[in-house]
Amino acid sequence: MTQRRSYAVGTGLFIVLGFAALAYLATQTTSVANSHSGSTYTVDTRFANVGQLKVRAPVKIAGVRVGSVQAIDLVPGKEEAKVTLAIDDGHKDIPDDSVATIYTSGLLGDQYVGIQFGQSKNPVKEGGEIGLTRPAQQLEEMLGKFFGGGSAPDRLGGTYHVTGDFTNIGGLQPGAAVKMAGVPIGSVDSVVVKPGAVQATVTLAIDKRYSQIPDDSSAAVFTSGLIGSQYVAIQPGGSPEFLAEGDSFVLTQSALQLEDLIGKFLVNGSPSDNKSGAQGAAQPDNAGKK
């Protein structure tokens, strides 16, 4: 009998252990909130582009999960996606002029729907619609903006070379675009510092189609966006003469260093130039000590 009893106790322990492990897995390693818990109400939204949004993706308000995406369909006959959101009944007070936006968590993360409250006093109802939406941002489009709409144009028409001397070219690389009025017209051919000189000589290869650039134009090193690549922008002057092969720019503007800019912002409040002057004077001193 004791033998049998020990079997029963051992088996009971085994079963309890199994269910304890199940409870542990279900509650500790999964998002229990991901499963359907509690009742929800549905709200429709329409997006021009849902990107990688998936069914059951979270819906968040102020970063807090309030529901999930229930369905994603194409609106018949339109280039529009209808996204049905299932929002927990506990969050009934979403204004009907709120804005739904598709966000990406992190750079590579999943996409989710974020809702920003509007000003309306009327909450959106079951089966209602959030009319204002912002579509998913496509990484390719954003990158396209950063990098200024692509690199240098093709050189089918041949190029001519113009040089410019810059005191500081920042991160300008050979191959970077040369733009006039924002349109790429050529590329940077080489960046060198001539022996004995303190300035960088940048050679630009400009498409021959753009041969009518006034010879008093100025060249500047700009950055596309905040973290984009650098390019050379040509600001046309008023001279009747045009730049030709081998000419050089008289007027150049060096790259703006982000650090310098921030430094300027920080000391912007004070009217005196003492600080920036002192900094400018201090730098060569430091360099000399080293």
Binding site: G10, T11, I15, L17, F19, L25, A26, T30, S31
Partner: protein, 255 residues
């Protein structure tokens, strides 16, 4: 059952057919086997609780090696914080149920086959029938039931140990942030898809298949010592093939 002149295909078909009929016989006998509830409990102890050591140890090491390999590969992409997620999903969906079922076939399936096979070889089953005790209800059904109950529980324990092993390597040894490890895992792992469908459903299906094969092979053993040896081997081979093939079929339906 079948004479020796049949070729392999016909013999295999005959085996599968006999196995299917045997399943129906066992299912019909399950209500009667509830009279022998204690026997079922004893079998759960034998096939389940006694397999805990091997299942827990293997789960721990599978989780640890997964954590190590994934950390190594994911560090190429700078994605080591996803280690916990991938360990959990790989174990829940595939390794947990499959490896547990394979271990179960080796540890418990063989002993069931050998035990029933020896009962057959020593005429115990015939003796029971003579004493008006239904051997299907008293011997086969409790062992079958015990396997179906025990395997899901073992698979769950395996999964828990696997996640623990992944945590041990990832967080304790390789220094992934503890909060990242768990929060990424909880964000990606889904109760329904990964635990219910992944672990429970699969391991119940494997439990049915492995227990059926083990009991069937034992029950139909030729009553010789050689026959018992062959039956035991066949249990492991047939179970392994059935588990892996069924895993593919189930996954293609569940995914």
């Amino acid at each position: 059952m079948s004479n020796g002149n049949d070729n392999v295909v016909v013999r295999s078909l005959a085996q599968i057919g006999a196995c299917g009929l045997f399943l129906l016989t066992i299912l019909a006998a399950i209500p009667r086997s509830f009279r022998h509830g204690r026997e079922t409990v004893r079998q759960i102890w034998f096939v389940g609780a006694m397999s805990l050591t091997i299942v827990m140890t293997c789960g721990l090491f599978v989780g640890m090696v997964l954590g190590l390999q994934l950390y190594d590969v994911l560090s190429i992409f700078g994605g080591t914080s996803a280690t916990g997620t991938v360990v959990a999903i790989a174990i829940y969906r595939e390794l947990g149920p499959v490896v547990t079922a394979l271990l179960f076939a080796g540890r418990a399936g063989t002993s069931v086959t050998a035990e029933i096979g020896l009962m057959r070889a020593t005429d115990q089953l015939d003796a029971m029938e003579m004493m008006a005790v239904d051997p299907i209800a008293y011997v086969a059904a409790p062992r079958f039931l015990a396997g179906v109950i025990a395997l899901p529980l073992l698979a769950i324990v395996f999964c828990a140990m696997g996640v623990f092993g992944g945590h041990l390597v990832g967080v304790t040894w390789l220094g992934i942030d503890n909060g990242t490890f768990w929060s990424n895992m909880t964000a990606a792992v889904d109760v329904h898809k990964d635990i219910v469908d992944g672990v429970l459903l699969k391991s119940i299906a494997f439990g049915i298949v492995v227990s059926l094969i083990a009991v069937f092979q034992g029950y139909t053993t030729p009553p010789t010592s050689e026959g018992v040896a062959y039956a035991t081997t066949r249990t492991v081979v047939a179970s392994s093939i059935a588990i892996l093939a069924l895993d593919f079929v189930l996954t293609s339906f569940l995914i």
